[in-house]
């Protein structure tokens, strides 16, 4: 006897439940955030025989953080909020007289003779206590990186009419096309050469 009519429909009512189950599983086991943070390069360990290069005192900007989170900048007790300003003033000083090989043509600082000669010579030296809070350290790092970024943005605006941080983000983004990347690479490098990040971190001491 032939069967009549269409086969019975499969009940799909529980499909939603199954999908919900999967959805909840993925919600629980995954995270949405992409990480962001401050990029830094650590100095390589130098062979002990090599003599340290001689650097003029005026080209070094010292920042000391004590265990209570207070800042000593260039031997002066400083509020952390004015650190960025001071770092910019130091980096952008351009103290070398015009005509000398170190003369800085793009600096807009006060050109004091007792501050840095040229941004490419200027070094920021950061020192902290073993009991300094990590949060304070990050704030100081952030301010110093901020000082560099501000100066780099200024130069990038002057040369390419665009922010340096913006260009760098596009350059580092893996979705950017390679032809654009080549173009950006050169620009980013040029700006980085104008204001190289020279941040030296001494090993922490526990004595004071």
């Amino acid at each position: 006897m032939p069967r009549r009519g269409a086969p019975p429909e499969v009940n799909a009512g529980s499909m939603a439940d199954i999908a919900f189950l999967l959805l909840i599983f993925f919600l629980v086991t995954t995270t949405i955030e992409t990480d962001a943070g401050l990029d830094r390069m650590l100095p390589p360990i130098e062979p002990p025989t090599e003599a340290p290069p001689i650097i003029k005192e005026k080209n070094i900007f010292t920042v000391n953080i004590n265990r209570n989170g207070q800042l000593l900048v260039e031997d002066e007790l400083t509020d952390i909020k004015s650190l960025r300003e001071k770092a910019i003033a130091f980096l952008d000083n351009g103290g070398a007289p015009s005509g000398s090989p170190d003369y800085c043509s793009y600096c807009k600082g006060k050109r004091l003779s007792d501050s840095s000669d040229n941004p490419t010579k200027a070094i920021i030296s950061l020192k902290n206590d073993r009991e300094t809070k990590y949060g304070t350290y990050i704030t100081v790092q952030n301010e110093l990186v901020g000082a560099y970024n501000e100066l780099r943005n200024r130069e990038a605006q002057r040369l390419y009419k665009r922010d340096f941080t913006d260009m760098e983000a596009e350059y580092l983004n893996p979705e950017t096309e390679s032809s654009r990347k080549e173009d950006l690479k050169e620009k980013v490098k040029r700006i980085q050469e104008l204001f190289p990040q020279k941040l030296s971190e001494a090993e922490t001491d526990s004595s004071n």
Partner: protein
């Protein structure tokens, strides 16, 4: 007239739920594509500090994570109140960091081994002494590229 009365008797028709699975599947696929799997459970407090000048860590496969912070309440009795280092799923001492980095590096494909970044996820209340020890260890194994992972925000919030 009779037609009108009949209609009233029928009651509310059931809402059609046939498209509910489609909607849920859409949500499911959205979450599957935009999220990544958690790779380890945290055993330490991890309130990251804030910073504004951040850069994104783009490629997950090129990152090695190190977590630092106070042990969470369930581990306090065993490991104390001092900030500790967590590598993979266990507490470690600073001198194990070097080995861990070398191990993780060996797991990565050859072409990525020179471009690895070490992401330091450190609780904002940790002391710098421990971080300095880690940095020293990282220098020893030549893992020089580090990223201090932070939340986006005003850096001055860290000081409170």
């Amino acid at each position: 007239m009779s037609k009108f009365a009949k209609k009233k008797d029928a009651g509310l028709p059931a809402v059609n739920t046939a498209s509910l699975p489609d909607i849920v599947f859409m949500l499911l696929f959205f979450f599957m594509t935009v999220t990544v799997m958690k790779d380890n459970t945290l055993k330490v407090e991890n309130t990251l500090p804030n910073a504004s000048e951040t850069k994104k860590l783009e490629k997950k496969d090129r990152v090695i994570y190190i977590y630092v912070g106070e042990p969470t309440s369930q581990y306090k009795a065993q490991f104390g109140e001092e900030a500790r280092i967590q590598l993979n799923d266990k507490f470690s001492s600073p001198n194990e960091v070097g080995d861990y980095i070398l191990q993780e590096r060996a797991k990565k494909p050859q072409e990525l081994q020179n471009v690895l970044t070490t992401a330091l996820k450190v609780d904002k209340n940790a002391n710098m002494g421990l971080i300095s020890d880690i940095k020293q260890e990282l220098r020893k194994v030549n893992a020089l590229k580090v990223n201090y992972t932070t939340y986006d925000g005003d850096a001055f919030n860290n000081l409170q």
